[in-house]
Point group: C2
Chain length 244, copies 2
Amino acid sequence: MNIRVFATPREWTEDDVRGSVAIVIDVLRASSTITQALVNGAREVVPVSTPAEAGELAVKAGRADVVLGGERDGKLIEGFDLGNSPFEYSSERVNGRTVIFASTNGSPSLVRAKSAELVTIGCFNNYSAVTNSARETGLDISIICSGRNGKYSLEDFVCAGKIVEGLMTPHNSIANDGAQGSFDLFRYYRSQISEVVKHCYHGKYLSSLGFDADLEHCAKVDIHQVVPTLIEGKIRLPKANGSS
Amino acid sequence: MNIRVFATPREWTEDDVRGSVAIVIDVLRASSTITQALVNGAREVVPVSTPAEAGELAVKAGRADVVLGGERDGKLIEGFDLGNSPFEYSSERVNGRTVIFASTNGSPSLVRAKSAELVTIGCFNNYSAVTNSARETGLDISIICSGRNGKYSLEDFVCAGKIVEGLMTPHNSIANDGAQGSFDLFRYYRSQISEVVKHCYHGKYLSSLGFDADLEHCAKVDIHQVVPTLIEGKIRLPKANGSS
């Protein structure tokens, strides 16, 4: 099977990922936060592109029945319940509830990736689970870096490279320069994931907002054994999750 | 001064490069070929976005008075004089002449980069010259990877990283993740530039078309001491060039 990595959000189209299993990465912080919300019992996370869409959807669903989460410039959106820190998505806040989620970079990638055969969410936190589940599909694999405001982001590219390494088998091959470059950059940084997450551009910005604990959390490898999966516009944990 | 690398063509806007010195990279092959054409005496190279624009401009200038060069899918464009191999741009073909140039990736980057204070062309072939000239401006530096059909390309990113290394002084700092990532990836590949150029996606494609000699040529470091520079829509060698 072919492994492709898309380094930046505007370089891929719906056609590029069609028929493949997509792994959408936004290490800081959407993919880490969505994973945490589902681990803590959220019934589903519904990604939307804009805060306005989130608001419309919340009204339709019954505002009191949903949690509105996300960020703009890393900060809580006015009128929303939660920002984009994994620590905000505690069991107390999300267990059994629907989270409507509008982050700047990760959410639009998730919305656009729906032409893929299967859309999953990956980060360092669920590295092995998401990698193994993609490998087991036998499909081509599209690893999508959400980036930052359309631009290349180091933490996503290094996470992509780690997933490429985990996918390499005699049956899988590197099929674009993004996969080769991220794989090799991960090999350069192998033992320094936590430094990459702290010192990348967005890491430094989040640190300036006081989110150092988030950086430490988002750099942790394999603290969760789940594969958040987009099904009919909603991210859930398929039943098999947690047993792997 | 701040050093930024844009890893892919759609991640930067005219505002992102405004006021800086831009170094536009398309190792395979536009920036290598334009450099070669000017070294071989072309009066100027006029980059245009499409073959149609090239044709219109050629008619206005007098078709017999200009050389039409460029490629689509790596191949000669119907009705054009030359393709996109540096070896085609010999003194016999280009000396004293105007080349109108429409390549798929490099030309559109050059056309869009005009909001920069200064636009130069970089590749492995003129690495030291283009790096030194950018450093001497004292301006912020925007290194633009032309990529391939909008996507990340390894050879451009590694060349960008080499230029970042050459720009690092106590006065210059890495200002985005593209600069950090390309710098570190170059350090991973330091002694393997020729392998990167041969084994990247576009290198393999060009090899399949029989352009192996081009790959060898485009990987050569510092064979030319010139800085092709865009002035009023035309790429020329400023008078200082060749004396450095």
